[in-house]
Amino acid sequence: MEYSVRIQGVSKSYGKKTVLDHIDLDIQRGQIYGLIGPSGAGKTTLVKMLVGMDKADKGTVHVLNRKMPNLELLQNIGYMAQSDALYTELTGEENLKFFASLFKLNKAEQKERIAYTADLVHLTDELKKKVSAYSGGMKRRLSLAIALIQNPQILILDEPTVGIDPELRLSIWNELLRLKNSAGKTIIVTTHVMDEAGRCDYLAMVRDGRIITSGSPRDLMANYGVNSLEDVFLNAGGKRQ
């Protein structure tokens, strides 16, 4: 089995507050892996460790068989944070160009990737506009395009569909599925929306810094003898108490 990400015995606390408590998880290559849980469960902290922004107090994080944090590995990781994180004075194209030039891409590759990602998120006609004139959905899409700019092996999306209308959410999910199927990307998504969880290949339910249960959506529902992931979450959470 080929793993894109291996997290072993990871714990993290800020002061007295334990944010992550002995997390173990493996993410297979070419999967859409969902981290599901309420706000404050520790999803973002976990994701930040994958990008090397945070360091575990205990345990190890391996990405593509190399230990994080590792600067070179970031070439292979596309990261989209919860906030859009765009330069609003610049145009969409200038934003893409700026981030493209931070990665190892030559001029021709840059051009090609900018055209490709812009087309992917349907922003080709809006590239010359300043980002301050973009709608919320357009900003989100541009943010996704930036995360894809260097053609990363792994895509990490922290709450990618928060504040997005259902139509756009559907189109983003279709893109993610296409990236997985046609390009074999590993995609890690955090969300607290249960109907999105159903689209993932594999789920880990996070609560209070612990993984309370994990498995494919179908297996999870079967194991708990329920018909919805919401019930799985409630049952799994309830067992612990």
């Binding site: 944090p69 944070a81 610049l90 931070l102």
Partner: protein
């Protein structure tokens, strides 16, 4: 490569933000001009009244042409000045030219002294072999030759405005990057921490250099602030000061959660520096307070600027001040690279 991408982006952002550019380039000139008129309030008003004792006609004529009102008096004393409400008395006493200045307004006294010096010097040059001594012995009714106003103040002000605006704009620039999450995103790319800081220093540094050049040229050429020494030294001092302000602004933005908090650093970090920069004479204050002044970058920049602009000293005499400024910048830059660890552990 990455650094140049950063520089280019900062340039694009700055050029889009016209108001910030205006603040950076025009506001210092506005304030400097305002201060100039405040401190030189009476400069263009009435001609100064000068009493003469035993002065020959050509000199009196030259003084008159220099817009000085001439009155003949009978002695070089404070009493005569007060009696006749004069700004000063010039007299030839025992073969020596003696000038007694009233000096209640140092800037006026200074201007008068310069006019007299100029008239006498040009006269002495034209008529070689004349019996007129070139050196003038100057005395003051109030204060001393040390009490001058804008000429001493202006070098400090030039340095201060360069420091202040660069500090503010670079600090808020990086702060915005922190609050919008773009810094976090930047740190999720393979860019090195030192590359980020270098990019920031260079990106804003370009604007700081332009600002410094505009401010210095404006002060010297338009406001006629006295510049005895070399303008290149003045530019060099201000550029180093801008670098210190740039790195300090970026560093302090780490400790601010919003633009508002960044502005709150002004009374804490910026204003105290102006007091220690030499606007207020520091000789009289407590030793420990003088020591506080020595940890302020503006203290050294002001010392060097006063030296070059007012006293006309050369490069070797300001080397120590320049080295201290370089040290300040190096420390702040190093701390900046460390502070970015907050965003990425490597």
């Amino acid at each position: 490569m990455r650094t140049s991408a950063l520089i280019k982006r900062i340039g694009q952002q700055m050029l889009r933000d016209k108001r910030t550019l205006a603040l950076l380039f025009v506001a210092p000139l506005l304030i400097l001009t305002l201060m100039y008129f405040i401190f030189n309030g009476n400069g263009d008003g009435e001609n100064p009244k000068l009493g003469l004792v035993n002065i020959m006609a050509p000199v009196a004529e030259a003084l008159k042409q220099g817009n000085i009102d001439i009155v003949d008096v009978n002695g070089v004393t404070s009493e005569v000045i007060k009696e006749n409400k004069l700004e000063g008395i010039l007299g030839l006493v025992d073969g020596k030219l003696t000038l007694l200045l009233e000096n209640s307004d140092p800037s006026q006294a200074k201007a008068l002294l310069m006019k007299i010096n100029k008239s006498v010097a040009s006269l002495a040059q034209n008529a070689t072999g004349s019996s007129l001594p070139i050196s003038i012995e100057t005395d003051y009714v109030y204060g001393s030759s040390e009490t001058t106003f804008f000429d001493v103040l202006s070098p400090i002000l030039v340095g201060f405005f360069v420091f202040f605006f660069v500090f503010l704009i670079s600090g808020i620039g990086l702060l915005r990057e922190r609050t919008t999450g773009t810094l976090e995103r930047l740190m999720s790319t393979p860019i090195r921490r030192a590359e980020v800081i270098t990019g920031y220093l260079a990106g804003y540094g370009i604007f700081a250099i332009i600002q410094t050049i505009i401010v210095v040229l404006f002060a010297v050429n338009v406001l006629d602030i006295s510049l005895v020494g070399s303008i290149w030294n003045v530019l060099l001092i201000n550029l180093l000061l801008a670098l210190v302000a740039l790195s300090l602004g970026i560093l302090l933005s780490t400790f601010a959660a919003s633009e508002f908090q960044m502005v709150q650093f002004i009374p804490v970090v910026v204003i105290p520096q102006i007091f220690f920069a030499g606007i207020v004479p520091l000789d009289g204050i407590a030793d420990w307070l003088q020591a506080v002044g020595k940890i302020m970058p503006l203290y050294y920049a002001a010392d060097a600027l006063k030296g070059v602009m007012y006293r006309g000293v050369g490069f070797t005499e300001i080397t120590k001040d320049l080295l201290v400024l370089v040290a300040f910048a190096a420390i702040f830059i190093g701390l900046n690279v460390l502070a970015l660890k907050k965003y990425r552990k490597q």
